[in-house]
């Protein structure tokens, strides 16, 4: 797609400052949160936040970096989740990390197939073809009962999270488990986007013709973006199913979920890694804040239905506002804020 979504937001921080920031975040996430967190914090906020961040990170590789719009991300989450479920069910001797990697590979393979139309189609046509993937995967999960182990209701429940005898079954454990997976994949994604391959992604996004002329293998690059993105999104699906909800039904991976992930990417910032986290934070926390706020301020007169409608409107408005005012999303806002602070020093 010749269309470009947003320039790669440039890091304004010095690398050292960046490193310090990341180290602080990791200390907070690993050192402080587990000491003070409540079950509600882990189960209702942090774990879904991590899973959605990872899904958005995956989509961002494809849409933000390589410029290929996908409206079917949740299909790959579903594939990851169901693949992991089947692997753990049918090959119970596999250690959990192996299961997760294999599940990611299943999603990646499907992503590769879904990426094939990208070699001929662009823009909206491609976006619509990813919708086809969304519906097709939904149908397949529903069609073949063995995928959900012939469960009459089609709902599967996740196996216990145990690695080498170490159990991550309680709320904090599942948070730490998700955190580790997300941190690891984010690191790898960072290596990717700063590598020559990542450069090729952006080249294809910003000017496909010029990219082809200088020798970027455009077809290969697009397929690679689809596969890598789907891998990450697939693993996010595993987290969603195994660490967060612990039961999964195909309906949970519908078009709305795909849009939700896309919105996270747009709001957070296309083509930035931290955008995925900022966007997911907003999408997960905003509804909770709004509903608390609405209940506190307006009390009884403000029923939950009205509130949800307002939230829908607020979310839509945010999308439009970001696209108009700050296409680089929250990530750019954050950069600007940091810059202001530094200037104030």
């Amino acid at each position: 797609m010749a269309a470009t979504s947003a320039p790669l937001a440039k890091t304004v921080l010095r690398p050292s400052a960046n490193a310090v920031g990341i180290a602080l975040l990791l200390v907070l996430a690993y050192g402080i949160v587990p000491l003070v967190g409540t079950s509600y914090l882990y189960e209702a906020i942090l774990t879904p936040f991590l899973a959605l961040s990872l899904a958005a990170l995956g989509l961002n590789l494809l849409t933000g970096y390589a410029g290929q719009l996908s409206l079917g991300s949740s299909a790959f989450m579903a594939l990851g989740a169901y693949a992991a479920f089947n692997l753990s069910l049918r090959l119970p001797f596999l250690p959990l990390p192996v299961t997760i990697v294999l599940a990611g590979l299943v999603a990646a393979t499907a992503g590769l197939a879904a990426g094939l139309p990208a070699l001929r189609l662009r823009g909206f046509y491609l976006a619509v073809s990813t919708l086809a993937v969304q519906f097709f995967v939904g149908w397949v999960l529903n069609r073949f009962a063995w995928i959900s182990n012939d469960s009459p209701s089609g709902v599967i429940s996740a196996p216990p999270l145990v690695i080498a005898g170490l159990s991550f079954e309680d709320a904090r454990g599942r948070y730490l488990f998700s955190l580790t997976v997300v941190a690891l994949l984010t690191f790898l994604a960072w290596r990717l986007v700063t590598s020559p391959t990542g450069r090729s992604f952006v080249a294809v996004r910003d000017n496909e013709t010029a990219a082809r002329v200088i020798g970027v293998k455009v077809a290969r690059t697009k397929l690679l973006a689809f596969a890598l993105s789907s891998f990450v999104v697939g693993v996010a699906g595993v987290l969603w199913a195994f660490a967060y909800l612990r039961t999964v039904e195909p309906a949970g991976f519908n078009l709305d979920r795909s849009f939700q992930i896309l919105f996270i990417v747009i709001i957070g910032g296309l083509g930035t890694l931290r955008g995925a986290f900022l966007g997911a934070g907003l999408i997960v926390v905003l509804p909770l804040l709004l509903s608390r706020f609405g209940a506190a301020v307006l009390g009884d007169g403000f029923d939950s239905g009205t509130l949800e409608m307002c939230q829908r409107i607020a979310l839509g408005t945010l999308i439009v506002a970001f696209l108009i005012r700050e296409p680089a999303g929250l990530a750019a806002l954050l950069d600007r804020a940091v810059r202001c602070l530094r200037r104030a020093d």
């Binding site: 139309p117 073809s129 919105f263 409107i313 839509g316 696209l323």
Partner: protein, 297 residues
């Protein structure tokens, strides 16, 4: 006719008539895409909004004609607002950005529609008796025939409009070459506004017909998903393409569900139209009526 043949004809006719309904939604997309290059995902939400407004007004005792005119007014206002508040500031942005903005707009409209009119499910009776007509053993739906007639009328009005009115001609000029049109002194914003109004009206007509079929409720906005394969097949910029592709998609969908479904499992309608349209596109990248565009560098 042998029973099997009669059945085949019936499936085919049913499919073609469903296709008209898809085309009706698709036309709204085409109008906007043709002039401003935006794939307006909010078309479904506009449809819901129109139908919900209309039905809520009639339920409050407003007569049909009054409700229709009032809703028309609301749709005009809505179209203008979207154009002014969302698309004007985003002019010259890549098409994908505009598309994503319309996703946001869809959310806003859906929320606003239900905030204003509630989440109740409504019935919508256009006063058309829908008992089937029996033609040589083949049942044909009166309502679908009516819908087809409305769709035909709308296409006729639109083409007359484009052919014979000043705005219509300007509209076509913009569709052919926005830059050139700008140079010859046409005022693009005015045309865009006109186009959004037109698509609001199309949304109203489609919303009423679909609303009568499904009931007026949240899932009405999902009909866009039926229109997308039509657009892929017919091209995003051709009204004729939308009609023809609608017919093809409707027929393919029904025929494959009835004749293919038993072999690979039922319920394939959700994706078969997409796959068929994309398959066609891979073979013929310019679509049904599209012209092969030349890449400018």
């Amino acid at each position: 006719m042998s029973p099997d043949l009669a059945f085949l004809v019936e499936v085919l006719v049913g499919g073609l008539l469903s296709g008209v309904m898809y085309a009706l939604v698709a036309i709204g997309f085409v109008l906007i895409y043709k002039t401003s290059g935006v794939l307006n995902f909010a078309q479904g939400a506009m449809l819901l909004f129109a139908a919900l407004t209309f039905v809520s007004l009639t339920e409050r005792g407003v007569p049909f004609a009054g409700a229709f005119v009032a809703t028309l007014g609301v749709m005009v206002l809505l179209g203008l607002t979207i154009e002014r508040a969302v698309l004007r500031p985003l002019v010259n942005q890549p098409p994908i950005t505009l598309f994503m903005a319309t996703l946001g707009v869809a959310y806003v409209i859906e929320g606003a529609a239900q905030l204003a009119w509630g989440t109740q499910v409504h019935g919508l009776d256009l006063g058309i008796d829908d008992t089937p007509i029996d033609i040589a053993g083949v049942f044909v739906s009166r309502f679908d025939l009516f819908a087809a007639a409305v769709a035909g009328l709308m296409v006729a009005v639109l083409s007359l409009f484009f052919r014979y009115t000043r705005t219509g001609l300007a509209f076509r000029a913009v569709a052919d070459d926005p830059l050139a049109a700008l140079n010859t002194g046409l005022r693009l914003p005015r045309i865009w506004a006109a186009v959004w109004i037109a698509s609001g009206i199309v949304a109203l007509v489609a919303g009423l017909l679909w609303g009568a079929r499904l009931g007026v409720q949240f899932s009405l906005s999902l009909v866009v998903l039926k229109a997308l394969p039509v657009l892929v097949l017919g091209g995003f910029d051709s009204i004729l393409g939308a009609i023809v592709a609608g017919l093809i998609v409707g027929a393919v969908e029904k025929l494959s569900e009835v004749y293919l479904g038993p072999f690979i499992g039922g319920g394939i309608e959700g994706w078969i139209a997409y796959v068929a349209a994309l398959g066609f596109l891979l073979v013929r990248p310019s679509g049904l009526f599209g012209v092969r565009s030349v890449e400018r560098v």
